[in-house]
Amino acid sequence: MSKDVKPTRKNLMAIEDRIELSERGHDTLEKKRDGLIMEFMDILDQAQDVRSDLDDNYERAQRNINMARAMEGDVAVRGAAAALKEHPEITSQSKNIMGVVVPQIESTKVKKSLDQRGYGLVGTSARIDEAADAYEQLLETIILAAEVETAMKKMLDEIEKTKRRVNALEFKLLPELHGAQEYIEQKLEEQEREEIFRMKKIKAKKEEDEAAENAQEAAEAEVETVPADG
């Protein structure tokens, strides 16, 4: 607990304001964290589906290209690859999920029909077509996976950040502020008690003084009256 706060009423009010603000912020951040985690769960399901598709597609693509290379030879496959004219392109836009900017990737020219590929129909066999097809399919899944995994990475970052903030407020800032508040309240009470005690003392002293004065006056009066008797 920080003892360096000055125990004044003004400070106490400032601290009470800060506590109120921090508590409000804490509630809001907690809600944000829960919301983010819910959104994340949705994406996670999606990601797991995409991942298993990705693995299946990769295996199929590998099988196909191995077949093509075995049957047609490495040179034919490379030749076909070198002849390609269209190249896949991606453009990314962004989408906002609870303050996290996640990309939405759009692709063009990934899937191509036979005549778009540009390596000719006569010179190559169906196996190369199949392999190209499988790899195009794989690329599509990769693009989807990239989108989903980027979203996951960003959301995880944000969840971690929010969690850290919630915890900092809950376990560090708020206890400190409550401590300071209690400290000031106790100090002020103490000061009040001291003040009352001081007042009592002063009152007692005053009464004592007054009594002494009265007694002295009375004595003087008596002294003045005594000779008159005689």
Binding site: L84, T91, I105, V110
Partner: protein
Amino acid sequence: MSQEIAVVGSPDFTAGFRLAGVRRFENVQDGERAERLDDAVTSVLDDAGVGIVVMHDEDIEYLSRTVRQRVETSVEPVVVTLGGGTGSGNLREQIKRAIGIDLMEE
């Protein structure tokens, strides 16, 4: 802005992607992975025209610490690894850290 897909890996790995039209690729022979893979990956990561980097999961093991960290955390371009199974990579660790439980159990 339109970007491209890049593939980094052994010539066998990249060949298929070339068939699908990928232009940007870095061939690293299996024997040279220790020396050349870092540079190859860094060069595609630094290329602003690359939006997605495709790598094989095994190749990640050969990267040096700093490059590996970049690969695992990079968002632009994002690195997608193939052949590692569902619960692969750093993502699972990150989920464990952020949420507190392992959500990727199979």
